[in-house]
Amino acid sequence: MTSFPVENSGLGAAADRPYHETYRQAEHFRTQADEFDAVKLGVWLFLATEILLFSGLFVFYGIMRMLHPEAFIHGSSLLDWRWGLLNTLVLLYSSYTVASAVRCAQVGDQKGLQRNILITFVMGLLFLVIKFVFEYAPKYAEGKLPGFWYSYPNWESPYEPLWWGMYWGATGVHASHVIIGMGLFVWLYIRARKLHFGPKHYNAVEGVGLYWHIVDVVWIFLFPMLYLIH
């Protein structure tokens, strides 16, 4: 006699009940543990693709730097490392809060979960504000723009437009990941408000959390590469 376990099914959805009664396992998995592992594996595979995507970017950076070290050194000296550092701290703190969110879900602390998701979202927003207001805007005004659009007069190497191309390209791709992450936090927050998460069901929180860590780690690499190495 074989049949699928039905331990998690059969309960009507009721938002006012604790999370585990509203949670229904997807039918095609044999056990809840299988589902859990499957989601985890899926998330890790997806993160592998993200890492590969940014690795490609880093290789581009490395090769360009090798070709034109003087342009990259001078270009990098025009960046203000203090804004970069501040943003690094903002993201590090958000990594902590998102990890706390996962922890809260695991122990069933719904209030803490919601609070931490919210803080992480705000940190993402803060990162973008710093980036756009204090970094992108002044550079745009001074003409430190990628390639063809470059019009900054005080250059030292003719290849500096290339450096700015790399800078805008790399930080732009990263910023778009931050924006996507913030979208995911909105989604998590709505679900958390509906009490979708709890000790046995925190896959989504953990998945988004891992994604956010990757976004942070990428920045941890970008920060020295762009701001610090001279």
């Binding site: 699928f4 095609h28 595979l45 590969l52 581009f60 390639g147 805008w168």
Partner: protein, 605 residues
């Protein structure tokens, strides 16, 4: 024996009876049926939708190919004649010109460039890459593993819509005028051609978006294999089709992100002129080639591994024999997946340093080994098998023949000194058509024939199936074999014009393309006829041993199986297990015991 649906009725609070119906059963109204298909998360329906889309794209790409061949029937020339001091300039041999599309030699050439580019882009990104995994793979993987669906059904639907979205950009780009970059988008040409226009960006964007679809399908399959195998099915009890898909998925997931970032930077380069590929700004155009091939070489194995996956099933089923060296075949899939990542440099022999070229040449020879392992194993499987020459088996034999030619000519190209002569000639064109079309597409058509009864519950006509095979096989060789000869004699690829020595080869090739067309039309009408009036298919018309045949109806029910299958025999244990040829609704091997007891079932006739 409690059925899956039996347990769930009531438990979920809604009626599951409809899940016992064949998955193709239409809903109450046409509109409801359309909505049902558009929002379905059933892997079978998604697979069928992909099949239809891919075949449609194959048709579009095929029309472009026929146009290219017709243009090459005669060389495009500008003929200048001076009579009585009066000079007249005439264009000859250009179809594009004679139908009024082109006004002069240059625009005739432009049209030619756009059409072969369109052909290449459609065939690579919209047809071959998604073809087998997304259609047959989606349909069969869960069935072969004894699962109800892929691991993430909604994600599966998402990748289908992403595919449509990407195709939309590709078609839009073609409709507003088309691009002439070649399917490889080589810089610096691709960053400066058609400056100020969106066409090229649209096309690159299409490839970028299609990449996501590909990644998500691959990711889904990997998790499915890990987490949804039926009780009793270990890794080495999986059908080899699943192993092939697993290798394919790994490459899709690992290689596609790199092309993603490369295409993104290419778009930036076009839109913002960031300069990485532009030598005037200190960038390096050859860097694009490296990144492009770092993806696109592995991706040729995304194209061929699924073909090989189908091959193992075709050969085993129609020889009624265990595949010779199961583990060797399984591991060679992984070996191919691994080596595929270190040979990209063989596409750049003419544009890289000597040492690098020598190293890449050596590595390229390595990649032929696992492919050869597979070919030898299939041939060894034929030995003393009881071969049943049905259409799918003919296709399997066709694959062996054509893929061997394609693979061996790959070694010619991989040999550094030879490649300096053959690079960018028709020899390369013939090589990759022998592997991509003679390999992947041939296996795909064979696979469609084999699983047709399972997918649609109808048998196709064997006579017309085999007639189609012979037309395709002969047409294919007639089209592409002359291209090897032309290539060796120096006919460069991507030109609408040529010297007279090549006339006969080009004309043979063009005639061959018409024979191919005829073959495909025969298949097409055979399939349409089967859907309309074909005899009903039994669950296991070929007497195969994998779960989709032994445990599922033709066509399968929405939930795939009435009982969760328990695996009691290997996928190719034809020596021990003889499944009877069954009538509709009968199953010869009901899952009885746990573990791996072998059931010996008497043949039904």
């Amino acid at each position: 024996m409690a059925s899956i649906s039996g347990t769930n009725v009531g438990a979920h609070g809604h009626d599951h009876a409809h899940h016992d119906e064949p998955y193709l059963t239409p809903k109450s109204s046409l509109w409801a049926t359309i909505i049902d298909w558009a929002t379905t998360i059933d892997h079978k329906k998604i697979g069928v939708m992909y099949l239809v889309a891919v075949l449609f794209m194959f048709f579009l790409g095929g029309v472009a190919a026929l146009a290219v061949r017709v243009e090459l029937l005669e060389p495009t020339r500008t003929v200048t004649t001076t009579v009585n001091g009066e000079t007249t300039v005439q264009i000859t041999g250009s179809v594009m010109h004679s139908v009024g599309m082109a006004t002069d030699m240059a625009s005739a050439g432009d049209w030619y460039n756009k059409i072969f580019t369109l052909h290449g882009l459609i065939m690579v990104f919209l047809v071959i890459v998604p073809s087998i995994p997304a259609s047959l793979g989606n349909f069969l993987m869960p069935l072969m593993l004894g699962a109800k669906d892929v691991a993430f059904p909604k994600l599966n639907l998402a990748s289908w819509y992403i595919y449509l979205f990407g195709s939309f950009f590709a078609i839009a780009s073609a409709v507003v005028g088309g691009v002439d970059t070649g399917w490889t988008f080589y810089t610096p040409y691709s960053t400066i051609t058609d400056a100020g226009h969106w066409k090229v960006v649209f096309m690159i964007l299409a490839a970028f978006i299609l990449g996501f679809s590909s990644i998500l399908t691959g990711l889904n399959f990997i998790v499915t294999v890990h987490k949804l195998r039926a009780p009793g099915m270990g890794w080495f009890d999986m059908p080899l089709f699943v192993w092939g898909m697993y290798g394919t998925s790994l490459i899709q997931v690992l290689a596609t992100p790199v092309i993603g970032i490369t295409l993104l930077l290419l778009i930036f380069e076009r839109l913002f002129h960031i300069g990485i590929f532009d030598p005037r700004m200190g960038g390096d155009p050859v860097l694009f080639q490296h990144f492009f091939w770092f993806y696109s070489h592995p991706v040729v194995y995304v194209m061929i591994l699924p073909g090989m996956a189908i091959m193992s099933e075709l050969i085993a089923v129609f020889c009624r024999k265990k595949v010779f060296g199961y583990r060797a075949v399984a591991f060679s899939s992984l070996a191919i997946a691994a080596i595929a990542f270190v040979v990209w440099g063989h596409h750049l022999f003419t544009s890289q340093g000597e040492v690098a070229a020598a190293v890449f040449s050596a590595l390229t020879f390595l990649v032929a080994l696992p492919s050869a392992v597979k070919v030898f194993n299939w041939v060894a499987t034929l030995y003393k098998g009881s071969i049943d020459l049905k259409t799918p088996m003919w296709y399997a034999l066709g694959f062996l023949f054509l893929f061997s030619i394609g693979g061996l000519t790959g070694l010619f190209l991989g040999a550094l000194s030879v490649d300096l002569h053959l690079h960018d000639t028709y020899f390369v064109v013939a090589h990759f058509h022998y592997v991509m079309m003679g390999g992947t597409i041939i296996a795909f058509i064979g696979g469609i024939h084999m699983w047709w009864p399972k997918m649609f519950g109808k048998m196709y006509n064997e006579f017309w199936g085999q007639t189609g095979f012979w037309l395709v096989f002969i047409g294919f060789n007639l089209t592409f074999f002359p291209q090897f000869i032309m290539g060796v004699h120096g006919m460069p690829r991507r030109y609408a014009s040529y010297v007279d020595e090549f006339l006969i080869y080009h004309q043979l090739s063009t005639v061959g393309s018409w024979v191919l067309l005829l073959g495909f039309l025969v298949h097409f009408f055979n399939f349409v006829h089967s859907l309309a009036a074909g005899p009903k298919a039994p669950p296991n018309p070929w007497g195969a041993l994998t779960l989709e045949w032994t445990d599922a109806a033709s066509p399968p029910i929405t939930h795939n199986f009435h009982h969760e299958p328990v695996v009691t025999h290997g996928p190719y244990d034809y020596d021990d297990v003889v499944p009877a040829q069954t009538k509709p609704g009968e199953f010869p091997l009901p899952p009885k015991a746990e573990g791996r007891t072998v059931h010996v079932v008497k043949a039904g006739h």
